[in-house]
Structures are given as structure tokens and as C-alpha cells.
Symmetry: C2
Subunit: 448 residues, 2 copies
């Protein structure tokens, strides 16, 4: 069964389509792994075992009849518990005072379901996707954080409980847990995937993203979920590309290394990035330094101002009724956010847009910009979900980013690099990332 747990979502879909694998057998492998590891990792909020089993049987029947719902026919998917799935409670990682029973799927969930995915259930999120931690452990070492806020998504995909999970990133909540858990993490350009049906943290910064095992999976997921949604005020009607096709036979990419960011990483991570870049260059990539725009100065504060104000706006009514029940970090943030002045919020938005414009111009000269995903490997303990500051610029800029595992530290925890593309250039980014993924050849799995 180990083989089944280790296959990517795309590979699983191919095997199902060829008749070599049945959705029920794949689901059984997932459930077996979950049963073995869940007591240690605590990745799941609600394992929708019976419904998933029924859907998998349905997918089995269809597959035997040669009918396939779509490119994820029969592939199990986990949802961070801020995504609405019809019939399930969305807890947002908070107490019952914050729960809602969804009657309609989030748009992204509906798209996955329509593509044949088997919704396996809900995985943990920090409360309202902010930084108050969950009890979830890192699959490579449960005494370490899996990162946040998509903690359960990172742990579930990293431990091979499920091949693909939805996460969200407002600051660093998809790519950071992906890095800490040794998996691929991807978020597209802001506005590329509808966020309707996802509990917001800060609209201007919230991205639907995926944690998975291969760049190809991210491309497949984007192909399924991308598209304009007039019901989402941040959705943008930009033309789509052939994301799946982009990873098929990628050329050696031109990489722009953001040296000032690499130099802020911890020494062992910096050394790992340098040796990764050396290997990529040896394999044929063009590796050059790329400039970090002067507008990076003050960007963290600008992003923080936007986030505080928007979180305060979204939580306004709920916080008024349940202030005492709010987890400490989120409560403070919402309270602070109420004091932000609109002129400061708007200046922060202007700053953010200027950085985006500046870096879009830099990014367009490369296939991907390279920076650390996180300062180092997953920190010890579960109280701190880790430093999001390396992911934050690309959340603020709304630029597509992908994290790739590159190897293991002596501690056994995974290292990662972050690749970022120009806005709306996901296809080009995927091609570069798929090429790097092959050149890096990271194959390790945590001890199961």
C-alpha cells in the first residue's frame, strides 16, 4: 500500500483512468494511513469517512463504465476547515460560537467535486486562519510545528494521508506549512481562484491555494479551480492558460535569485539554497541575481495594516458578541485593527500595489524568482507556527508562488525554496517549477 500513498494526485488520476487503480482502493489506502497516524498528528477536524466511501464507490462504478467526471476522478482531497462543503460544519478552527453549517460548496470545492474529487473531510486550521496554533504535529517530527495556518493540510499531505489538500494563504499559510511538511505548496495570482465560500481573514490578501506532492498536481488543481467569479469582488477576469500542458516538457528556466532575501535565511537554509541553486545551474538553468525593489522597504508594515483593518472589518460583529472567546492573537489583532484609519489603510494598499508593479516588472524578465520559503526548517514545539515573513511579500503582491522541498536537514526536517512568478504567469511559473522539481529530485517521505 505504501506505493499508493506516495503517488501524486495526477498520477493517481491517471491510474484510475487507465483502470489500474480503483477510487475505493485509493481511499482505503488513505484511510489506513489516517488511522495509523492521526492519533499522533491530529490533522483532521472531521473525517467524512462514510460519505467519502459512498462517493468512491460511485466513482468506481463510473470508472468501470468508462465514465469519468473530470481530471480528478476518484482522487481524495482534504479541505482546510475554512472552506464550505455542503452539509458539513465549517468550524474555522474556532469554538461553536463561530461555526456555520454550509449548505453550498465553496466555489473552489464545487469545482474540485465537479472534476471528480472525493472530498475526504476537513483538516485543521488555526483559528480563523490567523496564528493561534492547533495541536497538529509535523509529519517529519510531531514535536515540531507543521506550520500554519493550513496546519492540517500540511500534515495530511506531508504524512501521505491524502494526495492533495486545499489551504489558504493571507501571509504565509500555504507555502510555509508546505515547506515545513516537505510537500509542494502553491498559491496563484490573487483573484485567479474565487474565494467565495471560504471564511476570509483579509480579502485583499486571501488566496485559495493547494498543498500536494508534485508541481503537476498544483497545475491540475489550478486548471480546475481557476476562472472569473462575478460573486467575488476580488476575482479578476484574466484569460486562463494551459496549466497542465505547461509542466509536460519544460525547458531549463531562467531563475532570478533575490539575494537580499536569501541572506536573511538561517545559515543552514542559506547553504541548502546555495547548493540547490548550484545543482540547478549544473542541470542547465540560467541562475542570475534579481533585484528586490526599493518598495520592499515598509512592505511588511503595509501588509500588516491591510490585514489588521480587513480582519477587524470581517470580525466586527462576531467580535462584539464573543470577544472573550477569541483566541489571544486573533483577538488582539481584531481589536488593534478597529483603530486603523482609512487613510492609513489606503496608503498601505497603495504601497502594496507599488511593490507589486515593481516586482512584476522584475519577475517578467525571469521564469521564476527564487527566495527562501521560510527562515529554516519547522521550529520546535507547537506554540509558534513559524515565521511567515518570506512568503508575505508575494501574498501582499498577489503574485503566484510555489514552494518546493529540496532536501532534509540533519534533523530530518525538510528544506524548501520558494519560486515566484509575474502576476497571471502561473503557466510560466509551473514550467520553471516542474523543471526544478525534476532537477532537484526530492523523493523522501517521512517515516510512516
Amino acid at each position: 500500500m505504501a506505493d499508493l500513498n506516495d503517488v501524486s494526485a495526477a498520477e493517481a488520476a491517471r491510474r484510475i483512468r487507465s483502470g489500474a487503480l480503483s477510487p475505493s482502493n485509493l481511499l482505503a489506502a488513505c484511510l489506513k494511513r489516517i488511522d495509523a497516524l492521526e492519533p499522533t498528528l491530529k490533522a483532521w477536524v472531521h473525517l467524512d469517512r462514510d460519505a467519502a466511501a459512498r462517493v468512491a464507490v460511485q466513482r468506481d462504478i463510473e470508472a468501470r463504465e468508462g465514465r469519468f467526471m473530470g481530471p480528478l476522478h476518484g482522487v481524495p482531497v482534504a479541505l482546510k476547515d475554512i472552506y464550505d462543503a455542503a452539509g458539513l460544519v465549517t468550524t474555522a478552527g474556532a469554538g461553536p460560537w463561530a461555526h456555520r453549517r454550509a449548505t453550498v460548496d465553496a466555489v473552489s470545492v464545487a469545482r474540485l467535486r465537479g472534476a471528480g474529487a472525493v472530498i475526504l473531510g476537513k483538516v485543521t486550521t488555526t483559528a480563523f486562519a490567523f496564528r493561534d496554533p492547533t495541536e497538529t504535529g509535523n509529519p517529519w517530527n510531531p514535536a515540531h510545528t507543521p506550520g500554519g495556518s493550513s496546519s492540517g493540510s500540511g500534515a495530511a499531505v506531508g504524512s501521505r494521508m491524502v494526495p492533495l489538500a486545499l489551504g489558504t494563504q493571507t501571509v504565509g499559510s500555504v507555502l510555509r506549512p508546505a515547506a515545513y511538511c516537505g510537500v509542494v505548496g502553491f498559491k496563484p495570482t490573487h483573484g485567479r481562484i474565487s474565494a467565495v465560500g471560504v471564511v476570509p481573514l483579509a480579502w485583499s490578501l486571501d488566496h485559495v491555494g493547494v498543498l500536494c506532492r508534485a508541481v503537476e498536481d498544483a497545475a491540475l488543481a489550478l486548471a480546475i479551480m481557476a476562472g472569473h467569479d462575478a460573486a467575488d469582488p476580488h476575482s479578476v477576469p484574466m484569460p486562463l492558460d494551459d496549466y497542465v500542458g505547461s509542466v509536460a516538457s519544460p525547458a531549463a528556466p531562467r531563475l532570478g535569485v533575490l539575494r537580499p532575501l536569501v541572506e536573511r535565511a538561517e545559515p543552514d537554509n542559506r547553504a541548502q539554497i546555495d547548493s540547490t541553486l548550484k545543482a540547478l545551474r549544473a542541470a542547465g538553468a540560467q541562475v542570475e541575481d534579481a533585484p528586490l525593489a526599493a518598495s520592499f522597504e515598509g512592505l511588511p508594515e503595509a501588509g500588516d495594516t491591510v490585514m489588521r483593518a480587513e480582519a477587524a472589518a470581517f470580525h466586527r460583529d462576531l467580535y462584539a458578541r464573543h470577544a472573550a472567546e477569541y483566541p489571544v492573537h486573533l483577538g488582539e489583532r481584531v481589536k488593534d485593527g478597529q483603530a486603523v484609519r482609512a487613510v492609513d489603510y489606503l496608503a498601505a494598499q497603495t504601497h502594496r500595489r507599488a511593490f507589486r508593479a515593481d516586482m512584476a516588472s522584475v519577475a517578467s524578465r525571469f521564469d521564476a524568482l527564487v527566495s527562501p520559503t521560510a527562515p529554516g526548517t519547522a521550529p520546535k514545539g507547537l506554540a509558534f507556527t513559524g515565521d511567515a515573513s518570506f512568503c508575505a511579500p508575494w501574498s501582499s503582491a498577489g503574485m503566484p508562488s510555489i514552494s518546493l522541498p529540496t532536501g532534509l536537514a540533519p534533523s530530518g526536517l525538510p528544506f524548501a525554496i520558494q519560486l515566484t512568478g509575474a502576476p497571471w504567469s502561473e503557466a510560466r511559473l509551473f514550467a520553471a517549477a516542474a523543471w526544478c522539481e525534476r532537477a532537484i529530485g526530492f523523493k523522501e517521505a517521512p517515516h510512516a
Copy 2:
């Protein structure tokens, strides 16, 4: 020469293309009218007489050689003085402390120039397009306001000094002066035309718009200026339609009358609207009542909050240095706006979006929604530019709107109706408006 002054921009372009009219002769007619009326109307800030003459001669030569730059070849256009035109000072209707000498055209101006338009100069705007009045008079009676903030655009087009002028609308600044001056006023869906190079008042609400003599001119202007601009964060990459084609042979439209708004108009205006609707129905239009969404409640306050906050953000630095020089209304507004909290600003944006969604759904069932453009005809005196509250909902909603003159009051001042379409449905709105325009048959011109 009267005939030349009275032709629409589209008709002038046709005559030039057929060889029946030369750009220089058309310009001469415009200049003659300006020379006659400008001392009374005070519509111009900067008449760029020599440059326009040189350009017109160039257009003459090209036309004789059968070369036409575009659909406005040789047609004079006036710019509200918040549009940048390369080489000219943008005064924004304020003192020298606020002036900037533009080195690059606003995107909209560049598009018009590229389509062959002859930029005739700058016309008056209230200071920074807010409500402190100009000295400009109404072409139908100079003791009355031409409306604002596009005061000069209304007066110049209304008095037949120029066939087409750019204006901007943040609350009611294109359609209201168009109504008061007896011309057609149009603003598209928010985000349809780039606002780059236009001095902002409130980004979320600012629309590039036109004042002209015929619906066809508005369609032609939109065809030239519409399109996505990545440099404008509010520009939206929605597909364009065949705007010019939409007015060619329009069918009788289905009109939805927003009765609660009509009932708020002054009695003589209400009677005029009712008799216009009766005539339209007699000519074959389907005229029905359309509901005003419940979210209209509180919308004026929401729009005002957004406007105050964004105006304060834009003016922040300039106001810090020149508070004492600010005109009274704008100064108060900027000062007030600094106190708006981000959570209130964001709640106002949410309200605005809800109203847009609600009314988009209503509007999509009709070819156009009908409401008054203004409470009545242009108020007496120049101190007050008139009540913008009938235009404001469609600025807040970012929905395309057009004002058509319908007749003259006993005072000799023009009446108007406002037609509004669903977001991105300008072609459908133009078709309805062109049909109504023909059925109404308003032909009056002010005494010259």
C-alpha cells in the same frame, strides 16, 4: 457655420472622411463659437489654439491623401482640466500649488489622440472635481449653473463650442452637467476605461466619461477608450463589445422605471419624465416598473464614506502643506475623511458592492433602468453645482449610465432622463439609449 457647430462628433468624422468637411474648417467653426461665447460662459482654462490649428492642418493633409488616423480623425475634443495632456499644465481647478505640467497624456487622452482627435484644450473643473464651484455659466442661461464638477465640459458641449468633451464622474459629475446643459452624458462601468493620468477624487468611484451631442458619440468614444490597463488597479480585463455597432439599428427597448426615484424628482421634472415615458411607450418601448433594491437604504452614506476616506488619502500630503489654500468644501471633506476608520470604510465598500450585485440582477432583466438624472433643471446661481443624489447610486454601483435631454422647461432650461445598464452591458445600454434618443427627438440648441 451654425450647421457645423451642431453636428455630432460621429457625423463630423463621417463628413471629414467623405471629404465634405476639413478638420481646419471644423476647428475654425469651434473657435468662432468659443470667441463669441467664452466671455459669457467662461468654460475654458486653456484654449490650445495654435497647437490645435497645427494638428488640424496635419489632419487636413492626411485626409486629402486618404489617410485617416482613426474614427475621430480631425474632430476637436475638450478635456476637463484634471486630465493630463502632454505639454499642458493640469490645474485640477485649483491654485498653482496644485498644478502639474504633464509630460505624458492620460491613457484616455492618448487613445483619443491616437484615434485622430484634435485636442482643443482644457475646460473648467471644480477644484479637484469636488463641489466648490467654478465661474462657468450654463449655455442655456448663464445665470444658472452648468452643473459640476465637469462644468466646462457641459458648458462647452452644450454651447456647441466643441462636439465632445471628457468629464469625470465620482458622484454625479458627468451626467448632471450633461443634463443641465442639454447634452448627452455617459459614464461606463467602473474599470472599463483606464483612469491613469487623471487626477483622482476617490478611486473606487472615479469614472472617465464623456459629454457629447449624441448617443452615437458616446459609443464611439467608448470604443476608442475602453480596454484593460494593468497600470490602473481599478481597471478590469472584461471583454469589450461592438459599441458603435450597437447604436446602428436598435430595437425597441424594455425599460425598467425606478418609480421610487422618479417620485423624488421635482414635480415639473416628474411630469416631464412621465410624458417622456408615455411617448416612448407609444413609440413601441416596453415600459415597466423595476424594483429599487433594499440595499439602496444607507447607500448615500456608504458612498460618502468611501469618497471621504479616499479623497483624504489622495490629498493627505498636499493638504498637509496647503490646508489654508484649499477651497472650503474640499478642505472640510479632506479633513473629515482623515477621521474615517478603516472598518467603516470597508463596511461602506461592502454595502456598495451589495447594492451593485442587487441592482445588476434587476438591470439584467431590462435594456435600461430609468431614473431622473437630477431633481430638476439647473439651479439658479453659480454657487451650487446642483444635487448629485440621482447620479450617485450608479457611481457607487459602478454601473454604466447615460443621460439624455428630453425637452425644455418653460424657463428654457433642459430636462433629462437617466438610463442605467447592468455592469459591462454598455452595448445593450447604448442600443436602448439610441432608440430612446430617436424617439424623443430632442433637437433644441441654446441661443448662440
